[in-house]
């Protein structure tokens, strides 16, 4: 158990490509840190540099306060779980898990007790004498975990450990990993491209894009106060809706009507880089919409009418899709997000497609016009040029989030300003 610090870390390839640029990240003792981002953003490279499997081009990597740049992986005392598990196929599960201890010349009796203990935690006891080829995907994944935990290393490094499992198993193992990490209290760096995994697992999340760290914070901070368009669009599912807007005084002119900017946002907006005037990109999360009929106090938000094109019922809620006629919001960051989600090839709808999450009690019908409402206090505003947020986090919101443990993330944002009426936002 130990702290890990990346200081001005660079990864340059011989052809000049920089996979990781000036990365600064401090991971506390026992912290669960998630590196998340679309494929090719440098997150795996960063992890492999920590493991010692890639050379560090520039900068310092400290584990437990010591600079370890030049140390071989075996001298860093870290354990790694690989995406494809990398189990030794010629060894039994027992030998796989005990291999590291055997290399460290730990007495056989101790190896045995540690392996048995790990097998108990991971529910692998009856499989100890089988070979990896005879195990299911989930079991192999657990063996890979077991190989890491028997070592009691300074840190766990996990490179998309769940991406090869099917959806149901992935959710199970997610809770399992979270439980084991809390039980052992080992510093962990976890790489994933799945924002749900990131939100549910991490104490803190570091979002990367094109080799650059975009934002580091608790799940609540990233959700409530994204630094820029990229983070805003990446975190949250379904992802945030973006609409072009125009600021003038206290009013935000959106294609769905003029919105009076609430008091709380106005203060933050004043301190922001934009100074509170001009064109902006407005972001509204699907869960901050509601069927107007179900909202008691509409004064904190804005009510408008829209024709619902598609209505998806989830049982517990509806997803309503509608199109807002306006010039398309475009930015390189959003393009990249769309490409990562595989949506780049889809035919584009005219205007901006918006998705709203509505309460299951809603009477909205597909193909009909509906009266919708959104919570203006949860608006996000971004500079259309650089994509930076125009709403810097207000003091108590971000600072208090830093100390929060994982699990309080999800939808409940820092300074919880709940929606009016029904509890669509939980």
């Amino acid at each position: 158990m130990s702290t890990i610090a990346l200081e001005h870390i660079y990864k340059r390839y011989p052809d000049g490509f920089e996979a990781v640029k000036d990365m600064n990240l401090e991971i506390g003792d026992g912290e669960f840190m998630i590196l998340v981002g679309p494929s090719g953003c440098g997150k795996s490279t960063a992890l492999r540099m920590v493991a010692g499997l890639e050379d560090i081009s520039d900068g310092e990597l400290k584990i437990g306060g010591e600079v370890v740049n030049q140390r071989a992986p075996k001298d860093r005392d870290i354990a790694m779980v690989f995406q494809n598990y990398a189990l030794y196929p010629h060894m039994t599960v027992r030998d796989n898990m005990g291999f590291a201890l055997k290399l460290a010349k730990v007495p056989d009796a101790e190896i045995n007790s540690k392996v048995t203990e790990a097998a108990r935690i991971l529910d692998l006891e009856q499989h100890l004498d089988r070979k990896p080829a005879n195990l299911s995907g989930g079991q192999r994944q657990r063996v890979a975990m077991g190989r890491a935990i028997v070592r009691n290393p300074k840190a766990f490094l996990m490179d998309e450990p769940l991406s090869n499992l099917d959806a149901k198993l992935r959710v199970q193992m997610r809770t399992e990993i979270s439980r084991i990490q809390q039980q052992l209290g080992t510093t962990t760096i976890y790489v994933t491209h799945d924002q749900t995994e990131a939100m549910t697992l991490g104490d803190r999340i570091a979002v990367m894009r094109a080799g650059l760290l975009q934002q580091v914070g608790t799940p609540a901070e990233l959700y409530g106060h994204p630094n820029n368009l990229f983070v805003a669009g990446f975190i949250g599912s379904p992802s945030m809706n973006f609409l072009p807007g125009e600021l003038s005084g206290d009013t935000l002119r959106l294609p769905i009507g003029d919105v009076r900017i609430p008091e709380r946002l106005r203060g933050r907006l004043g301190r922001g880089p934009g100074g509170g005037r001009g064109g902006v990109i407005a972001g509204i999360r699907p869960e901050h919409f509601e069927d107007a009929a179900l909202v008691g106090d509409r004064s904190r938000g804005h009510t408008f009418r829209a024709k619902i094109d598609v209505l998806e019922s989830m049982g517990s809620e509806y997803y309503a899709y509608f199109v807002v006629e306006a010039e398309r919001v475009s930015s390189s960051e959003l393009e990249e997000l769309a490409a990562d989600a595989g949506g780049a090839d889809l035919p584009r709808a005219q205007g901006n497609q918006v998705v709203a999450r509505l309460d299951a009690a809603s009477r909205v019908r597909q193909g009909e016009e509906a009266e919708l409402w959104f919570n203006a206090e949860r608006l996000q505003l971004f500079d259309p040029e650089g994509g930076q947020s125009l709403l810097p986090a207000d003091g108590n919101g971000a600072a208090s989030g830093a100390a929060q443990p994982a699990g309080t993330g999800g939808a409940a944002a820092g300074t919880a300003a709940d929606t009016g009426g029904t509890a669509a936002d939980t």
């Binding site: 493991a51 499997l53 992986p73 990398a86 189990l87 080829a133 005879n134 490094l157």
Partner: protein
């Protein structure tokens, strides 16, 4: 000699298509399937006959009496083990057998060990001139061996390697290396790199990672290479006849050529045939012993898939 083993190994995989054809035929019950089965069986029989007839011929020849060796009949009229007794009683053959086993084993072991190191480097490391090294090593393999016999003969005489074990081990090893490197590097390339990285993270030195993880996984490749190289060394005639002169280093192929007949004008066919049968045995034993290990698929289950 190698004809027999080649026949053995080619006929083994031929069996499989026949079986699948049979099951398919049963499932569908069509005439087409029966036809295909007959076709495959015919091919199988043909291959087996072609590869086994010469072997049988040599075996039968070795069981004939010296007088009837050239009588023209395929099956001996009088069965005898006289030829076998003959070659084992004459010291020349047993000594040659000892030389053959020793020289072939040592040369093969050295070649495989060196080739492992070289192939591993070629498979794993990216260094300038990697392709060149592979190309040069293959070029060495293409070099006609006979052209080297003269120079080697002179050189060996000068430095005292003529008619010694090392005098044969060195050229055998050299000529076996290119093929070994080529075969082994393709096997090493098949092993997922993550396994080695996992071993490194687990605390293994590069040497430990190789001996405990990579080498056991490449074992089918190593065994295959070992057998191929062993057969090449075992069967060599050119170097053996040119670089040796006495029983101190003469291998079996060279010794057979030196078998004395009853008179200067008779060829000891029976003895030669018996010796040929005897030297085939170790190769067959090797192949049978390691047949299971040669079967690939040991890496199954390492990574998801």
């Amino acid at each position: 000699m190698s004809v027999g083993t080649a026949g053995g190994t080619t006929s083994a995989p031929r069996v499989e298509p026949t079986q699948t054809a049979q099951t398919r035929g049963r499932a569908r019950g069509g005439h087409e399937q029966t036809g295909r089965m007959v076709g495959w069986s015919g091919a199988l029989v043909l291959v087996t006959v072609c590869s086994l007839v010469p072997v049988l011929w040599i075996v039968f020849l070795s069981l004939k009496t010296p007088a009837s060796a050239t009588d023209g009949s395929f099956i001996p009229h009088h069965w005898t083990l006289h030829n076998y007794r003959d070659i084992f009683n004459a010291g020349i053959f047993t000594q040659a057998l000892r030389n053959s086993i020793g020289i072939a084993l040592i040369a093969t072991a050295l070649a495989v060990i060196l080739a492992c190191a070289a192939a591993y480097a070629i498979a794993r490391l990216d260094f300038p001139g990697k392709r060149l090294i592979l190309a040069i090593s293959l070029a060495v393999a293409m070099f006609p061996q006979i052209s080297l016999v003269g120079p080697l003969y002179n050189l060996w005489r000068q430095i005292g390697l003529y008619d010694t074990w090392p005098g044969l081990i060195i050229p055998y090893m050299t000529f076996a290396l290119p093929l070994s490197i080529y075969v082994l590097s393709s096997f090493f390339r098949e092993i997922p790199w993550e396994l080695e990285q996992a071993a490194q993270v687990d605390g293994a030195t590069p040497y430990q990672a190789f001996t405990k993880i990579i080498a056991p996984l490449a074992m089918p490749g190593i065994v295959t290479t070992f057998i191929i190289v062993f057969i090449i060394c075992w069967n060599d005639f050119v170097f053996a006849i040119s670089l040796t002169s006495t029983t101190s280093a003469e291998t079996v192929p060279a010794a057979i050529a030196q078998f004395p007949g009853v008179s200067q004008f008779t060829v000891p066919y029976g003895d030669i045939a018996a010796a040929a049968v005897v030297v085939t045995v170790p190769v067959m034993v090797l192949v049978l012993l390691f047949q299971r290990r040669i079967v690939a698929g040991l890496t199954a289950g390492a990574v998801k898939g």
